[in-house]
């Protein structure tokens, strides 16, 4: 599934459109500890987390994540929003728990 397709499905609200609609999502990935995410997130994953700070954006860029999905109603703070815009990172948000949201994407990708 491409980022543009995920956006069109409206499963999650779009917080920032990173302009990478053609990027293929490889799989969902869930983690909140940034050092674990840094080493375990595979290229092209959709990263589900509750961490909405600027470091989440930095890790997403360095790990080549396709997008970030903020769960449990977590919000991007102002600095992180600016960083996401600068670095062209696509960020979604949802009130769903991390597992439920990741599972929903997984099912959609089958």
């Amino acid at each position: 599934m491409k980022i543009s397709e995920l956006t069109a499905k409206n499963l999650f609200a779009t917080v920032n459109d990173g302009g990478n609609g053609d990027t293929e999502i490889t799989k969902p990935f869930a983690c909140d500890l940034l050092s674990f995410a840094m080493s375990k997130a595979s290229s092209g994953c959709a990263w589900f987390t509750v961490m909405g700070n600027v470091n989440t954006i930095a890790v997403s860029v360095l790990a080549d994540c396709a997008c970030i999905v903020l769960c449990e109603g977590a919000e991007l703070d102002e600095v992180a929003t600016q960083k996401a815009q600068q670095q062209n990172v696509t960020v979604y948000r949802t009130d769903m728990p991390v597992f439920d949201a990741a599972l929903m994407l997984y099912k959609e990708m089958q």
Partner: protein, 141 residues
């Protein structure tokens, strides 16, 4: 080494808004130089962890990156408090990060272990009250 490129970055004290900028910059340069993706990933992970460590523990510092045809060498030098027990610091899960750092998603005790895991060579020189210099090498296959 005549064809090598040398880059230098200043890492700010306690400035999480800029943490990761040096690593991102190096990553972009390596991409432009068509360095293989696995080597780029190893550099990005090990350097980012080192950069964050400098912000959390050492009041910032200087990172020097030398990119040559077959190797990327990162030297992270700080004038922080030094590491009391390197063996303990290298254990996965051991962390001295304060609570405010943990709320940002750090402090899992994976910084140095990740740096060791994702670099091909790592050397730590540290002195209490003087500072720490970490040298990491990633070879380009």
């Amino acid at each position: 080494m005549s064809n090598s490129i040398k880059l230098t970055y200043q890492v700010s004290d306690d400035d999480f808004t800029r943490a990761g900028e040096a690593s991102s910059n190096v990553k972009s340069k390596l991409k432009m130089m068509n360095v293989p993706p696995d080597a780029i990933r190893k550099v990005a992970i090990s350097m980012y962890e080192g950069e964050i460590n400098m912000v959390i523990h050492a009041n910032g510092g200087t990172i020097t990156v030398e990119i040559s045809k077959d190797c990327i060498t990162m030297v992270l030098a700080d004038k922080g408090p030094g590491i009391k027990n390197i063996e303990q610091a290298m254990q996965a899960g051991f962390s001295t990060a304060p609570d405010n750092i943990r709320t940002l998603g750090f402090g899992a005790g994976m910084g140095l272990p990740n740096m060791k895991k994702y670099s091909d060579e790592m050397d730590i020189q540290t002195e209490i009250g003087v500072g720490t210099t970490v040298t990491m090498k990633v070879y380009i296959q």
